[in-house]
Amino acid sequence: MNPYLEALSHDTRRHFLERCSMGLAGMFLASLAKGEAPLAARQPHHEPKAKRVIYLHMAGSPSQLELFDWKPELVKYDGQNCPQHLLEGKRFAFIKGVPRMLGTPYKFAQHGGSGAWVSELLPHFATVVDDVTIIRSMTTQEFNHAPAQLFLHTGNPRFGAASMGAWATYGLGTENQDLPGFVVLVGGGNNPDGGKSLWGSGFLPSVYQGVQCRTSGDPVLFLSDPEGISRSMRRKTLDAVRDLNTLQQRRYGDPETAARIAQYELAYRMQTAVPEVMDISKEPAAMLEMYGAEPGATSFANNCLLARRLVEKGVRFVQLFQWGWDHHGSSRREDIRHDLPNKTRAVDQPIAALIRDLKQRGMLDDTLVIWGGEFGRTPMRENRGGSYGSFVGRDHHPYAFTMWLAGGGVKGGLNHGETDDIGYYIAKDPVTVRDMQGTVLHLLGLDAHRLSYPFQGLNQRLIGPTDEAKVVKALLA
């Protein structure tokens, strides 16, 4: 074992033994007893299909009715009052009284061997549908952004639980110890509504929280040496830190000191490894062009290319957030006619490029790509304050939305689930957020019912305390 792992293992065993109930984290104890680092790659519960995940979260929730869920009937009803039975007993974020139905202004066509219906707003995505499973029957139980995002990513609409990426690195560790195991890239100018808890470790130890990599400033906070400290000076100080710590460990005997020495060496290696992986300028021009990426820019295209570079280097879970999909129709910026095309233009080509790129590198088979928002949008046109202005949009809709998955053990060219004629309720094969969480963990080789961590008297799990989550077998390749 190298000295770093050896030192860290002390810390780790100690840490885990302090925290884990007997038996509950047996899997981890077993591997840690062998002296592995907290992020060392670990054996999953069963043979995994996906070794890594790229999750593209469209914060604000794009309209499934403009992008994937083609509803000619709804177009027919456009402008008519919404029937009362669809409104009774329902809570909406902004709709008041009786709204009108809203058909999509966009054209849809069938694509690929699967005949998937895709909107004209996603011409590039339409070319890769045969590598994708589109799930048009997603449902959730939350209809406000922050709670819905928290529910999706942490399994709890309130704060304090651990995110999916944290669970994945807790369960599986990561392949490259010089990079964080769980990387987050935020785009669109804002953090997602749920804030940093969406990639937090909650009750899990904070080594499992997502590390935000930024495309301007330091790629990881405090990664760069401060002004006045050169690289060689940093090496000199680290050598001195190591020597003085060694003297102190000899004197006081605490193994924690050895762990800290190891962390400082790892930090030094990260200072080189992270900027290297974050620098897309050495990518061939054709690659940059395929993604629409531009070195130095801050864009979703750059983030997609970075996601591929990160997973290629062994990062376990890459989480992208792209903000700005909350098209209520209360202003031009939230209008599905004026602004939605801007948003789809920014993501469409990079997403298709990402899938194609992973495929040509032979990585799509064991890399799971996930796309979606936190809920859907209403088949009714939003009437904020009870009346209509000049802009058009839709309210939050928890009962039906679309997500898609690609690669990582998921069937290509599958259309899973259906909504009713107007896209209000699920008509066939509903998939809940908990099912999605259970399925993602299953693909990673983890049993969502067993992956747990003891906290506050309960074995906490991503899928929550009940056993309602099921693996959606129909999606599995």
């Binding site: 902004f94 100080t237 003297l247 924690e256 939050h396 008297g457």
Partner: protein, 873 residues
């Protein structure tokens, strides 16, 4: 019992386990873990009508299935089921080990006697019995030593005075000792020197600051409301109240009652009301389109759960959906507790009402609805949308009743918590003090004293402390003094490999505690030893330097504006806490975000901590001032630095290594361009905004004429040399509003969709540092400087907002700025911009003395990163 049997077989199974099966120690934890989920208190989850958490249930006397025949393991069905060949119970998870089965059989054969969970019985005060009476200084030591004697272990010798000086100062005040004070204590030969030193620290105003931080973790204190907007909330007067209350040492029962029900006290004072903000730290969801009742309900549930966690160490929150699976709290009882909190006026409103005025500030407080207006009902499956049977205020049956004459409101509940009959409150609180002073509680699961929690290693010590706290009249400082003056606390923390192997987590307390400092202490220590720390107490939260771009919260244009003067160097307690964007250098060291009640922080050791401690400019700034302070004070900077940082003199080896580093650093700095000056003037380099001036004024400060057009100018209009003579001319702000806000200065009307703007500005010959756009607009825009695109933005934050520009975008002399604006707003539009930048610092030549002095900054940076520095030992 967490982890013990599985991971420390030598210590716990052989050395500690006594031969007979003990219900409290062996059987209940086993049943709780393996059986209660399906055969416990929750009747809805109960399988096969079998209940194993009570004697009546297990033996079928309650009408259920008799799984246990007392005195006869062989005839007990439970034994048959746990030893079943092919399908042993439990159905999922690991089956019982041979040893566990043997314990169960032994216990049943001995009569299957149930006892109440230890933590639900009142503490019993016993006196310790030890052979060696010379070591103990007070009863704490008696209990510890009795246990060590049983294990054939000896306590460690007392730590040296330097170590004790630093340990006590960090533990009691959260700050390192001043070297002079440390030295005075070391040289104090009076027999009660240690007690005197401890007393002086307990009397320090910094005591309150240190222990307030501990309490604020529980209070889920933060300066914002949480969720999407996460806007500001004024709660700092409550934080200051906690500091004052701790410094004034108000008894813990009073401290409790004021926070839970200060508003209900007769003749409630302003302070009593301020205290009730404890439970107004719940999150408020001001996201558009939320159901206020949903989040009011969430806040009430949080108050119930947090009250149970903080005062009784119980996980009451588990019972909001169904009866608790492990502890005696039914679904109905949860809502009886909920009823206590269900009559307050607050209702998830964005203005936080009800509030009281404290000077300029409006502080959210608790206020009871009069008359009571809400009927509390059970929430089926925990959902407020599924109200069930109505319930009244009430306390859980498994515990004592409400005290005689206690009102059925929060005040009554608070008195019930502090009642002498309560078996938990004192234990939970003394355990908390112990955990902060020893790195782990006597009950390690501080957050769970229920049947799933860990059992105390020193149960008699826990009970003695609990009864002592009550005997002292809940006098916190007196209790802390008892603990820190014990011989147990004063032990040396050094450990040999053998001792470490024997008891890696020091649960037996055969040595002093050694653990990493909390996030706030890491930062405060760096500021203190460098002399930068401001001792100013209280007031609104401050914003010390943090990396740009951390605050990017949706629908909220608030910015992190670095504080000025001493507010940059206040104790971390006063740093602005935004829930969705915690202060990054502290988050790296496991500081909580304030989103939930944090009973104990999980300490980690990560490379991100190393990066923060090495590279965070605030840490580097401390290194600069620390080095200059050491240079000013003495002839031997190496020794001075060591004494400042670690409150002890360095060893000869340490001095030699430091001097070697200093030499190497000096050589490099002699050759290294401006580095020596940058290190010696690091604060000036860092706070570029102190040298900031407008190179192009915005409309707030001046009237600047722009060239503009509203019709598409074609292709090359953004180039530096473009001829804009045909364009119109006018000053900012540009725009139009149906109802303009008062602070607008719209000077040139713009109502159409697009606006093209051009102007020029001058940059001094030496160039500038850190140029930024200052923009106010609710529109999208794209900007070019000298023909090169420098930024585009469509977020439209309608307030003056700064955006960093690339350093290379500006050149000395004349620069051409071109902007295209696209309207987004519906009811009006505005655009205005300016450019600010910082004057460049003028560094002279690097001389030998600069390199020599700057090399001490490098050494200081190194010392601030030692393991011993971030550790309390």
């Amino acid at each position: 019992m967490r982890g013990r049997f599985a991971v420390l077989p030598i210590l716990w199974c052989c050395a500690l386990a006594s031969p007979a099966a003990d219900f409290q120690r062996d059987i209940r934890p086993l049943l709780a873990k393996k059986c209660f989920a399906c055969h416990g208190p929750d009747e809805h989850a109960r399988q096969a009508k079998l209940r194993l958490d009570t004697f009546e249930g297990a033996t079928g006397q309650d009408g259920g299935f008799p799984g246990i025949v007392p005195g006869n393991a062989a005839r007990s069905r439970v034994v048959a089921r746990i030893t079943h060949e092919s399908r042993p119970m439990p159905p999922s998870g690991e089956p019982l080990t041979g040893r566990e089965v043997a314990l169960v059989k032994e216990w049943i054969d001995a009569g299957a006697v149930y006892q109440r969970h230890w933590a639900f019985e009142k503490p019993v005060r016993r006196e310790p019995a030890v052979r060696d009476a010379s070591w103990p200084r007070n009863p704490i030591d008696g209990f510890v030593l009795a246990r060590l004697e049983k294990e054939n272990l000896r306590p460690s010798p007392e730590a040296d005075r330097y170590t004790l000086a630093r340990r006590l100062a960090l533990d009691l005040t959260g700050l390192p000792p001043d070297p002079t004070a440390a030295e005075a204590f070391v040289r104090d030969t009076r027999p009660d020197a240690y007690e005197r030193y401890a007393e002086s620290l307990l009397a320090s105003p910094h005591f309150g600051e240190r222990w307030a931080r501990v309490w604020l973790d529980l209070a889920r204190y933060a300066d914002t409301r949480g969720y999407e907007n996460d806007g500001r909330r004024t709660v700092w007067p409550y934080r200051d109240w906690v500091v004052r209350a701790l410094n004034a040492n108000i008894p813990f029962d009073e401290f409790t009652i004021k926070q839970l029900a200060g508003d209900l006290l007769d003749g409630a004072t302003e302070d009593d009301l301020i205290a009730t903000a404890f439970h107004r730290n719940t999150l408020t969801n001001t996201e558009g389109g939320t159901d206020d009742e949903e989040f009011r309900d969430a806040a009430v549930k949080d108050r119930v759960a947090v009250t149970g966690q903080v005062w009784m160490g119980l996980t009451w929150g588990c019972a909001q959906c169904h009866t608790h699976k492990y502890d005696p709290l039914s679904h109905k009882e949860f809502y009886q507790l909920y009823a206590f909190f269900n009559q307050t006026e607050d209702s998830d409103k964005p203005d936080d009402r009800p509030t009281i005025k404290i000077g300029e500030a409006s502080l959210p407080v608790m206020k009871e609805l009069v008359p009571a207006a809400r009927l509390t009902r059970i929430h089926e499956r925990g959902s407020f949308l599924n109200p069930g049977e109505p319930v009244d205020c009430g306390v859980p049956q498994a515990f004592h009743s409400l005290p005689e004459g206690a009102p059925k409101n929060r005040l009554g509940l608070a008195r019930w918590l502090m009642s002498a009959e309560n078996p938990l409150t004192a234990r939970v609180q003394v355990n908390r003090y112990w955990a902060r002073l020893f790195g782990a509680g006597l009950v390690e699961s501080e957050e769970d004293f229920g049947t799933q929690g860990s059992a105390p290693v020193h149960p008699e010590l826990l009970d003695w402390l609990a009864t002592e706290y009550v005997r002292l009249g809940w006098d916190t400082k007196a209790l802390l003094k008892t603990i820190v003056t014990s011989a147990t606390y004063r032990q040396n923390s050094d450990v040999t490999p053998e001792a470490y192997e024997r008891d890696p987590y020091n649960r037996l307390l055969a040595r002093g505690a050694r653990f990493r400092l909390d996030a706030e202490l890491v930062r405060d220590q760096a500021l203190a030893v460098s002399g930068l720390l401001s001792r100013k107490m209280g007031g609104p939260p401050v914003m010390p330097w943090q990396p740009p771009g951390i605050w990017q919260v949706v629908y909220n244009s608030e910015t992190w504006t670095t504080s000025e003067g001493e507010d940059r160097y206040r104790r971390s307690l006063y740093t602005f806490m935004r829930r969705s964007s915690p202060y990054p250098a502290m988050a790296a060291f496991d500081a909580p975000s304030g989103e939930t009640c944090t009973i104990r922080r999980i300490r980690t050791n990560t490379p991100l901590q190393a990066l923060a401690a090495l590279n965070d400019p605030v840490s580097m700034e401390s290194a600069q001032h620390l080095a200059l302070r050491a240079l000013k004070e003495g002839r031997s900077p190496a020794e001075r630095l060591f004494r400042f940082v670690l409150a002890r003199p360095p060893s000869a080896e340490e001095t030699a290594r430091i001097l070697a580093l200093h030499r190497e650093a000096r050589e490099e700095l002699r050759r290294g361009g401006e580095d020596a000056h940058k290190l010696l003037r690091y604060s000036e380099v860092l706070y570029a905004e102190d040298r900031e001036t407008a190179v192009l004024a915005d409309a707030r400060d001046a009237t600047v004429e722009w060239r503009y057009t509203e019709s598409d100018p074609g292709t090359d209009w953004a180039e530096a040399g473009y001829n804009d003579a045909a364009w119109s001319s006018g000053p900012g702000q540009f725009g139009h509003f149906e109802k303009p806000a008062d602070d607008l200065k719209l000077r040139t009307e713009w109502k159409t969709e697009n606006l093209w703007l051009r102007t020029t500005f001058d940059v001094p010959p030496g160039g500038v540092d850190k140029p930024k756009f200052v923009v106010r607009t609710n529109s999208a825009f794209e900007a070019w400087i000298n023909g090169a695109s420098v930024m585009s933005n469509n977020l439209g934050r309608n307030a003056y907002y700064e955006y960093e520009l690339p350093q290379a975008a500006l050149r000395p002399g004349r620069n051409a700025l071109a902007i295209k604006v696209t309207r987004l707003g519906e009811r009006g539009q505005i655009f205005d911009t300016g450019v600010v930048a910082s004057r460049k610092l003028d560094f002279g030549k690097v001389r030998r003395k600069h390199a020599d002095r700057a090399a001490w900054v490098v050494v200081a940076n190194t010392l601030l990163n030692l393991d011993e520095t971030v550790t309390r030992r």
